[in-house]
């Protein structure tokens, strides 16, 4: 039996989702069509929108269905940047590439980026943010900060950020892909302008996601066409996908604190938990193993039938030093020796024990390479 501890990369469809999704897939009708079939699809879509809005604590009109996290982040960042007058983007170097690369693209289009520094616990300095806003709020197009880091599980105090940004009238976007469903992400109370989420980290299908766009916020769309989704996301709406996303979001995640405690207890004698003093969500843990090349760790664990990840992977499948850990001030060697262990509803204590049992030999072998 293979041990799968890479749910933060993607998590298997939950049975509730599979049932609802396959049933909805059998219906015919474009949700925009006038006929009965279309109206049935529309009913599913709008029902899903309401259900997702309830979980996300937002207005149903604030839910913009997309194809997933990458699209949602791109829509928010490029859309807010295009909509706003300023050209300064405030973010950090530990964001997911869906944010980083969108921001770096905008840099080629005239944007200026203020990269907030992170401490070794993965936290920004509120004084630095305050100072930038004090000096440059008029030029600031947006702030983009992920709610939970997908590699380390570290939580950003989003409410503190939005409280500060509100004083200056600067919109805040948060990539909540790793947070949504795993910790309270109450959009109404968050003060966020936009929030990105995805289905497949929650046991929904790949290709489903949403951008929550507050009623007060406008974004310039990436896709132009039929004016669907408040005009922010053109294209025939995926009613079955929306339903599957809503069901995945509604289906509660188990309490992972027991697995977290077990993993920390069993693994920290061998590796260092990168979270440090920072708070993190219990289902994502990241360890560095001194002197061990990350790709060798992955290879050896895979040979032992255990699937984990380094966190970062480029298109060609090359394991690189984690840009997240580098942004937190870790050395190249430390950042190249990281393993991310992430849990899902199917994860058992036996899985964690299997990892802990395999690790001593794996670490010893990897250290020799």
């Amino acid at each position: 039996m293979r041990v799968y501890l890479d749910h933060a990369a993607t998590s298997p469809l939950r049975p509730e989702v599979l049932n609802a999704y396959t049933e909805a897939l059998q219906l015919v009708g474009n949700p925009s069509a006038i006929h009965s079939g279309g109206q049935s699809s529309r009913a599913i879509l709008e029902g899903a929108r309401e259900r997702l809005a309830k979980v996300a604590h937002c207005d149903r009109n604030e839910v913009i269905f997309t194809s997933g996290g990458t699209e949602s982040n791109n829509l928010a960042i490029k859309g807010l940047f295009a909509e706003r007058a300023g050209n300064l983007i405030i973010t950090t170097a530990s964001e997911h590439h869906a944010v980083l690369d969108a921001v770096e693209y905008l840099e080629t289009q005239g944007a200026e980026v203020h990269w907030l520094k992170l401490n070794r616990d993965g936290q920004i300095d509120m004084d630095e943010l305050s100072k930038v806003l004090e000096e440059r709020s008029a030029e600031t197009a947006l702030i983009a900060l992920m709610w939970v880091n997908n590699e380390t599980g570290i939580v950003t105090p989003i409410h503190e950020v939005t409280a500060l940004a509100a004083k200056y009238g600067v919109p805040v976007h948060s990539d909540a892909v790793a947070a949504f469903g795993h910790m309270p992400t109450n959009f109404a109370e968050s003060g966020l302008a936009t929030m990105a989420l995805t289905g497949h980290k929650l046991g929904g299908p790949v290709g489903t996601g949403a951008l929550i766009v507050s009623r007060a916020t406008k974004v310039v769309p990436l896709l132009h066409g039929g004016g669907q989704e408040r005009g922010f996301r053109a294209g025939t709406m995926d009613a079955a996908g929306a339903l599957a996303l809503a069901v995945a979001a509604e289906t509660p995640q188990p309490d992972y604190t027991g697995l977290e405690a077990l993993a920390v207890k069993l693994i920290t004698p061998l590796g260092n938990l990168t979270r440090g003093a920072s708070q993190g969500i219990p289902n994502i843990l990241n360890f560095t193993f001194e002197g061990c090349p990350g790709d060798s760790l992955l290879f050896l664990l895979d040979q032992a039938e255990i699937e984990v990840s380094n966190g970062s992977a480029c298109t060609a499948g090359v394991a690189r030093a984690s840009h997240v850990l580098l942004a937190m001030g870790f050395s190249e060697a430390e950042a190249s020796s990281a393993l991310r262990v992430s849990f899902g509803p199917q994860t058992t204590a036996e899985d964690v024990k299997a990892l802990a049992e395999a690790l001593p030999k794996v670490v010893a072998t990897a250290r020799k390479i």
């Binding site: 790709d295 060798s296 040979q303 060609a316 499948g317 394991a319 072998t365 020799k368 390479i369």
Partner: protein
């Protein structure tokens, strides 16, 4: 697995032979291109994906191992340094010596593997003394034993060339097609993989920079000017832009490159021929020759697809010396000389010095 047809079929045959195989693609560039262009390069993402696709069709696992730092240090930087030193390096040999059968092999052995399997055309046989020997491929047109000349006896124990004895590349392509591998008709790679546009001189100039100097003949007469010695290779005829014609009116060729003096020496084609090649950086491929300090008959090959030529060879005062029976052309310091005993690869050395077949006096007398 480069993503090409040879390593694909080699992997397939290793699987058929019952080995536990994983596919490994080497990431040798930090900025891999997305798609292949022409016949150059072998580290694009397209190549990686091709190798991955072959692996999945063979039912084996696939990994990309990043040796880009080692490759830069041991192959690319050395390539530049060799040109800067006036030599003509062979980066593919260096890659075999330092990466494929060194870094990769070491890592594989550390991870518990027994051997590195590649799609090279060469064979490993057991010699009379029971030691492993590297031999030419029977498919002489594709024989790649030259670029494997850097292998040592210890490395030969951990290499496998499943297609090494194949009759022809066409057979390998046909086998790949029969196995349903999409890379069956993929073009061969040529040239230097890290210079994707093939413009070696331009690539070097970007890294070394222009440094104008003089072009002289062997008698010391200035016959022209150059923009930097890295732009010249022994045997080169084109691009010399010499103002003064040669005394005999015949074309002149680059005979020597001296970066320290920033001078390029040119002369007649006949002066290009050399009778002796020698180098101190040598390795034995498997068992070394008994009493190598005594002259023995062998063959020497100076380029991947050059004809081997008969020679006398010996190791004299730590230098591997070969004296060819008939003078040979197109030999530049930095190139690798691979020594053969029949089909067996005996060893190799990097050429440090050559002796011209024609003395300076002879060259200039002939012109008069």
């Amino acid at each position: 697995m480069s993503g090409g047809v040879d390593s694909a079929v080699a992997a397939a045959r290793a699987v058929d032979a019952g080995h536990e195989v994983v596919g490994v693609h080497l990431a040798l560039s930090r900025n891999a291109g997305t798609l292949r262009t022409g016949s150059r390069g072998c580290c694009t993402i397209e190549d990686s994906m091709d190798a991955q696709r072959v692996s999945s069709l063979l039912g084996i696992k696939y990994f990309v191992w990043d040796f880009s730092d080692r490759f830069k240090e041991d192959v690319v930087d050395e390539f530049i340094a060799e040109y800067e030193a006036g030599r003509t390096p062979n980066p593919c040999m260096r890659c075999n010596e330092r990466i494929k059968f060194a870094a990769l092999l070491e890592k594989a052995l550390s991870l518990g593997f027994d051997a590195v399997v590649t799609g090279h055309y060469a064979t490993v046989l057991t010699g009379e003394t029971g030691e492993l020997e590297l031999h030419r491929s029977p498919a002489t047109a594709k024989d790649q034993s030259y670029v494997l000349g850097v292998l040592t006896g210890a490395e030969l124990k951990h290499v496998m060339f499943p297609i090494g004895a194949s009759a022809s590349k066409a057979d390998i392509r046909a086998e790949a097609a029969a196995r349903g591998l999409a890379v069956a008709q993929k073009p061969d790679s040529y040239d230097i993989c890290f210079i994707p546009d093939g413009d070696t001189q331009g690539w070097l100039e970007d890294r070394v920079g222009a440094k104008p100097g003089l072009i002289k003949d062997r008698a010391g007469n200035v016959v022209g000017e150059h923009e930097g010695t890295h732009g010249f290779t022994v045997g080169q005829r084109k691009g010399l832009r010499l103002g003064r014609p040669a005394p005999d009116g015949r074309p002149r060729y680059v005979l020597e490159v001296h970066p320290k003096e920033n001078t390029v020496i040119v002369g007649s084609q006949s002066a290009l021929a050399v009778t002796e090649l020698a180098g101190t950086r040598f390795t034995w491929c498997g068992a070394q020759k008994a009493n190598p300090e005594q002259w023995f008959e062998a063959e020497v090959q100076v380029r991947a697809h050059a004809e081997p030529v008969a020679c006398l060879a010996a190791v004299i005062d730590g230098e591997f010396v070969t004296r060819v029976n008939e003078p040979i052309m197109g030999v530049a310091p930095g190139q690798t000389a691979v020594i053969y005993l029949g089909t067996r690869v005996l060893g190799q050395f990097t050429i440090d010095r050559t002796v011209s077949a024609v003395s300076v006096e002879e060259e200039f007398e002939a012109a008069l």
